[in-house]
């Protein structure tokens, strides 16, 4: 069972990886983000992230350590786990080839392990953690042509109630090429294969996907308008949990950005459409429209002020809607007043709540920025959710982001 000694060992591995670099000239960037809070439903919630980024000429190494904690009281399902995750990401540039091995190591630390519903009606089991090594290779063959390949392997600790390890592994291998054409577009061909096995429950499933994607690079139209888009056709070969063929899919996305629609105001809009080709039937799978309006003002202050209005409508087999406003208004030096309001409609898994969950969040807060070295903030929110009966609760969230800057040695 993963525990504190497990985390200690992971950190020792990180340090051992970094030791050989001590003899080289390196640039080190480090940062730390802490977020904490509490409310009537979840008295303790928060996460801590510490990161370091080392650069040594043709090498760079990113190390991230994250610890997240959340209680599970209350009727509203939220993050239900306490876990620790270590990420080590190494990149080596050798001429036109970039080699990128990485490792992600996750340990579930809470007393109540997350419950998983197993495929092939094999009951439930409990997640303990996972380790995921990976290797990526990219090669720039010419200025316009790039090949890439990536392999990922997950070894998961998933135990049944009787303590038996399910020996659950996932393997994902993908590769392809991107050609930047002379006509402001790029063409990408990708193949992916994913295999999931669990010997204990005799589960072995593989699916493959072949993507053809055309992307139109940002183009400036008249009057400060930018336009970009992409179309991807994904052909699947495999079966889902209902033992049906996974449908092929055509995804198209168009983005429009209008700068200076009025002085200091910009608008960004994305339209997305998805069509499924399911066993001879063509069906509209999803359509969504998202728009964001940003107004920046008091730009000569230490911290520029801004108001962001955003909204999204999405229709698929479920309905999701979201609208909100977030504003940061500078008061004095690094001190700013925060104000947020958001309304959302999503499906819900809360028993008896009906098909949709409507929630409304409102809250004022304060923030202080110490140049670009640190930011501290706190916000008091009230959330109202329409469930079987209306639930209202207060929540306090605060955070500290610290970036001491680069060190060369």
């Amino acid at each position: 069972m993963p525990g504190r000694s497990d985390i200690l060992m992971r950190n020792m591995i990180s340090c051992l990886l970094l030791l050989p670099l001590a003899a080289m000239a390196v640039t080190l960037d480090g940062w730390m983000n802490v977020e904490t809070g509490g409310d009537s439903l979840s008295p303790q919630m928060g996460d801590l992230e510490v990161g370091g980024f080392l650069q040594t000429g043709d090498w760079d190494i990113l190390v991230l350590e994250k610890y997240a904690s959340m209680d599970t009281t209350g009727i509203v399902e939220r993050v239900v786990n306490t876990y620790s995750r270590t990420e080590i990401d190494i990149a080596v540039q050798a001429g036109p080839v970039r080699i990128n091995p990485d490792l992600v190591w996750t340990s579930d630390l809470g007393d109540d392990k997350p419950e998983l519903v197993l495929p092939v009606q094999a009951g439930v089991a409990y997640r303990q953690g996972s380790i995921r090594p990976g290797l990526g290779i990219e090669a720039d063959v010419s200025e316009n042509l790039r090949f890439f390949a990536r392999g990922l392997y997950w070894n998961r600790d998933i135990l049944q109630e009787d303590g038996y390890d399910l020996a659950w592994t996932d393997t994902r291998i993908s590769g392809g090429a991107t050609w930047d054409t002379p006509w402001s577009t790029s063409l990408t061909l990708t193949g992916t294969t994913h295999n999931t096995t669990s010997d204990y429950i005799d589960y072995d499933n593989t699916w493959n996907r072949y993507d053809v994607s055309v992307a139109l690079h940002p183009n400036i139209l008249t009057r400060n308008m930018y336009f970009s888009g992409d179309v991807t056709f994904s052909s699947y070969d495999g079966r889902n949990f209902l033992d049906r063929e996974i449908a092929d899919r055509l995804t198209s996305r168009v983005r429009l950005m209008q700068m200076g629609i009025l002085p200091s105001i910009s608008v960004n809009t994305t339209f997305e459409s998805v069509v499924d080709f399911d066993d001879g039937t063509v069906r509209a799978a999803c359509a969504s429209l998202e728009s964001r309006l940003v107004w920046r003002f008091l730009k000569d202050r230490d911290v520029p002020s801004s108001v962001v209005l955003s909204g999204r409508l999405a229709r698929s087999s479920v309905r999701t809607e979201r609208g909100g406003i977030f504003s940061r208004i500078n008061i004095y030096r690094g001190l700013s007043l925060l104000l947020e309001a958001e309304a959302r409609i999503t499906p819900t898994s809360v028993a008896g709540a009906g098909p949709d969950r409507q929630r409304y969040v409102f809250g004022p807060g304060l923030e202080y920025q110490f140049g670009n070295r640190a930011r501290i903030w706190g916000i008091v929110e009230q959330e109202r959710t329409d469930l079987a009966r209306n639930e209202n609760w207060w929540r306090f969230r605060s955070g500290l982001e610290f970036y001491p800057g680069s060190v060369e040695f």
């Binding site: 993050v79 998983l116 996932d170 996974i246 983005r255 429009l256 200076g260 069906r283 698929s316 479920v318």
Partner: protein, 82 residues
């Protein structure tokens, strides 16, 4: 023409297409909007089917394991899954 009239015309066109698509829609996979996904991994934590992983900073849903319980949609702080 006003400088933003073209933008409003295109916006209206997109909205019209959205309304036109609002007929009976059915999906065989959920969608992760990679523009909005921040890779926080909260969807990974709430998925009871082990069907989501964060790969290259974006949530990726395994179409063979997803059972459409919609917990990830409800949990996602950015509303990036639908």
């Amino acid at each position: 023409m006003m400088p933003y009239a073209r933008y409003l015309i295109l916006l209206t066109l997109a909205l019209t297409m959205l309304v036109a698509c609002e007929g009976p829609v059915d999906t065989t996979q959920l969608i992760v909007n990679t523009d909005d996904c921040i890779g926080c991994g909260e969807c990974v934590e709430v998925c009871p089917y082990n069907a989501i992983e964060v790969i290259n900073g974006d949530a990726v849903i395994d179409p063979s394991l997803c059972h459409f319980c919609y917990r990830c949609i409800e949990q996602c702080p950015e509303g990036a899954i639908y």
